[in-house]
C-alpha cells in the first residue's frame, strides 16, 4: 500500500501537481488517469523518488520517502519494478541481458539460477525464443513485455507502469493490461498504472485516480465511472462516440 498526501510539485514557477492525495492499494491495479499533460508521469516520478515534491508526503507501507537521500532509498528501490513509457530497455544489451541486469546487480544467485529466473519471467510475459534479439529488433508490444519481465524479475512489492499500452494496437494493449492485472493478483503487488486509454480503465480499473491539471478531481472504481455525475470525469471518459453510446444504452 502506498499513501500519498497533499503532494505539490512545481517546475520553476509552474505548479504541475496541486495537493494530490490518494491511497494505492495492495493486490490491486491502481490506475492514474487523465489527459496528456495532466501530470501523471510527474506523479509517478515523485513516487519513484526521481522528483522531489515541494511538500506533502509519500508513504510506502510505513516508510516515508520524501526528503530521503538516494542512499536511504536503496533498500526500497530493490522492491520496486518500473515499466517506462517507451520501455527504456538498454539498447546495448539483448533481451536476456536486459532482464538479467537487475539480478546481476542485486541478487546473490548463481549464474544458472539467474538464467532460470530470466527465462521464467520471459515466459510469464509470453515471450520465448527472443533471448538473443536486441531491442531494435523487436516490436513495440514485445518491448513492453520485456520491460515488464525486467520489472518483475526481482519479485518487487511495487510495480509502476507509465502508459504501458500507448502506441499499441487494441489487441496487444488488452493483452498487456490483462498480463499486468494477472501478475498483480498473483504476487499481491501494489501496482500503479498511468493511462489515458479508456479500454484499460474499463478492463482493469480496480481503483482509479483521475487527475486534471494536477488536481485530484475524482476517485473510485471502474463500476463507479458509469454512474458518476462528476462533470470533469464525464468530459474525459465520454469524449469518444463509442463510450457515449455505451453510456446511453446502460
Amino acid at each position: 500500500m502506498i499513501e500519498i498526501k497533499n503532494i505539490v510539485k512545481a517546475f520553476a514557477t509552474k505548479e504541475v501537481l496541486k495537493e494530490v492525495s490518494f491511497t494505492f492499494e495492495q493486490g490491486k491495479t491502481n490506475l492514474v488517469i487523465g489527459q496528456s499533460g495532466s501530470g501523471k508521469t510527474v506523479l509517478l516520478k515523485c513516487l519513484l523518488g526521481l522528483h522531489e515534491p515541494e511538500s506533502g508526503f509519500i508513504n510506502f507501507d510505513g516508510l516515508d520517502i520524501v526528503g530521503k537521500s538516494n542512499k536511504n532509498l536503496k533498500g526500497l528501490r530493490k522492491q520496486i519494478g518500473m515499466v517506462f513509457q517507451g520501455g527504456a530497455l538498454f539498447d546495448s544489451m539483448n533481451v536476456e541481458q536486459n532482464v538479467l541486469y537487475p539480478l546481476q546487480m542485486f541478487s546473490k544467485l548463481s549464474k544458472e539460477e539467474m538464467l532460470q529466473r530470466v527465462n521464467f519471467c520471459l515466459k510469464r510475459v509470453n515471450l520465448e525464443n527472443v533471448n538473443h534479439l536486441f531491442p531494435s529488433e523487436i516490436s513495440g508490444g514485445m518491448k513492453k513485455r520485456v520491460a515488464i519481465a525486467r520489472a518483475i524479475v526481482l519479485n518487487p512489492k511495487y510495480l509502476f507502469c507509465d502508459e504501458p499500452n500507448s502506441g499499441l494496437d487494441p489487441y496487444t494493449a488488452t493483452l498487456i493490461d490483462n498480463l499486468l492485472q494477472e501478475i498483480t493478483h498473483e504476487y499481491g503487488m501494489t501496482t500503479v498504472i498511468n493511462t489515458h486509454d479508456m479500454n484499460s480503465v474499463m478492463e482493469i480499473g480496480e481503483k482509479i485516480l483521475f487527475i486534471k491539471e494536477g488536481r485530484n478531481v475524482w476517485e473510485g472504481t471502474k463500476a463507479d465511472i458509469i454512474t458518476s455525475e462528476n462533470q470533469h470525469l464525464q468530459g474525459f471518459v465520454f469524449s469518444s462516440e463509442l463510450f457515449k453510446t455505451i453510456k446511453r444504452k446502460s
Binding site: 516520478k45 519513484l48 526521481l50 538516494n70 532509498l73 536503496k74 528501490r77 530493490k78 520496486i80 518500473m82 517506462f84 513509457q85 517507451g86 527504456a88 530497455l89 538498454f90 539498447d91 541486469y101 537487475p102 546481476q104 546487480m105 542485486f106
Partner: protein
C-alpha cells in the same frame, strides 16, 4: 650534440662537423619553425571552427549559467570517483568501453598519423631545400613535431570529435529514452556505471593510441622521405634517434592522459544532462565536441608552460 664518452678525435668526420653546426640554436629554430608551421595551420583552422561554435553557444548562455554549469560539472566528476559496489561488473564495463571507444579508433588514428607524418617530412624537406643543413635533420624535425604536438594534441582533438560525439550522443539517447531513469529506479548509480568506465577506459587506452600515432607518424615520414628521395633511409633513422630526450615522450603521455580525461568527462557531462528529444541529443553532441576541444587547447597551453619551461 653531447659528445659520447670514448669517442676519439680520429672519428671526427666532415659529417660530424656539420652536426655541431646544426646544434647551434639558430639552426634548430629554423628547423622547428618549419615543422611547427604546418601543425599551427592545422590548429588555427580547428580553433576557428571551435570559436565560431562556442560563440553560437555562449550567445544563448548567461555568464551565471556557465558558472553554475561548471559547479555542476565538478559535482558530476566527484560522483564519478565514488566507489562502485560491484567491482567485477565495473571491470567488464571498462573492458567493453576500451573496445568500443579505444580499439575502434586505432585504424583511424594510425591512418591519419601516417599521412600527417608524411606531409610534415615533405614540408620540412621542401623548406630545407638547397640549404647547408644535413638531411638527417628531416627525421629529427619530423620526430619532434609528431612527438611533442601532433600526436598528443592534434590526435586528441580529432578523438574529441570522434569519441566525444559518440559518448555524448549515446548517453544523451539513454537519457531521453529514460534508460538512465531506469537505472536510477533500480538503485544503480548511473554515473558510476555509465560514465566511470568511459573515463577510465579512455585514460588507459588513449596513451596507447597516441604511442601508435607516434610510430605511425614517424613511419609515414620515413616512407615519404625515402620515396621522394629527400633523404636516405639511414639518414632519416639516424635523425629520429638524434638528441632524443625521453622526458619529451613522458610529457606527451602526461598531456594525453589529461586530454583523455577531458574528452570523456566533458562529453559525458553534456550527454548525461541532455533534456528533451532527438534534436537535443544532436545539440549535446556538438557541445561535447566544442567544449572538450576548447578545454584541450587551453590546458595544452597551460601544461606546455608548466612542463617544458
Amino acid at each position: 650534440m653531447p659528445s659520447k664518452p670514448g669517442q676519439s678525435q680520429e672519428l671526427t668526420t666532415a659529417h660530424e662537423l656539420i652536426s655541431k653546426e646544426a646544434s647551434n640554436v639558430k639552426t634548430r629554430n629554423v628547423v622547428f619553425f618549419v615543422a611547427f608551421k604546418l601543425i599551427s595551420v592545422l590548429k588555427i583552422g580547428y580553433l576557428l571552427i571551435v570559436v565560431v561554435n562556442l560563440h553560437l553557444i555562449l550567445y544563448k548562455t548567461h555568464a551565471m549559467g556557465l558558472i553554475a554549469s561548471f559547479g555542476k560539472y565538478l559535482l558530476f566528476i566527484a560522483d564519478v570517483f565514488r566507489k562502485p559496489e560491484r567491482r567485477s561488473v565495473m571491470y567488464k564495463l571498462v573492458v567493453k568501453e576500451v573496445y568500443e571507444l579505444g580499439f575502434k579508433s586505432v585504424l583511424f588514428v594510425v591512418f591519419v598519423s601516417l599521412f600527417v607524418g608524411a606531409v610534415v617530412t615533405l614540408q620540412t624537406a621542401a623548406n630545407m631545400e638547397g640549404s647547408w643543413m644535413p638531411r638527417y635533420l628531416i627525421g629529427y624535425a619530423t620526430r619532434d613535431a609528431i612527438l611533442l604536438e601532433f600526436s598528443p594534441t592534434i590526435i586528441s582533438l580529432l578523438l574529441a570529435g570522434k569519441i566525444g560525439s559518440n559518448i555524448a550522443s549515446s548517453l544523451g539517447t539513454m537519457r531521453v529514452t529514460e534508460q538512465i531513469d531506469a537505472l536510477e529506479v533500480m538503485g544503480v548509480n548511473p554515473v558510476t556505471y555509465l560514465v566511470r568506465p568511459k573515463i577510465f577506459a579512455l585514460m588507459f587506452f588513449n596513451p596507447l593510441l597516441i604511442c601508435m600515432s607516434m610510430f605511425g607518424g614517424v613511419i609515414g615520414g620515413w616512407i615519404s622521405g625515402t620515396l621522394s628521395g629527400e633523404c636516405t633511409s639511414a639518414e632519416f633513422i639516424s635523425g629520429i634517434q638524434y638528441d632524443f630526450v625521453p622526458f619529451k615522450a613522458v610529457y606527451a603521455i602526461i598531456k594525453t592522459i589529461l586530454f583523455a580525461f577531458i574528452i570523456a568527462s566533458v562529453s559525458s557531462f553534456h550527454g548525461f544532462f541532455t533534456k528533451g528529444g532527438a534534436l537535443e541529443v544532436g545539440r549535446s553532441s556538438t557541445r561535447a565536441v566544442v567544449f572538450s576541444s576548447v578545454f584541450i587547447i587551453v590546458s595544452n597551453y597551460i601544461l606546455t608552460q608548466l612542463l617544458l619551461n
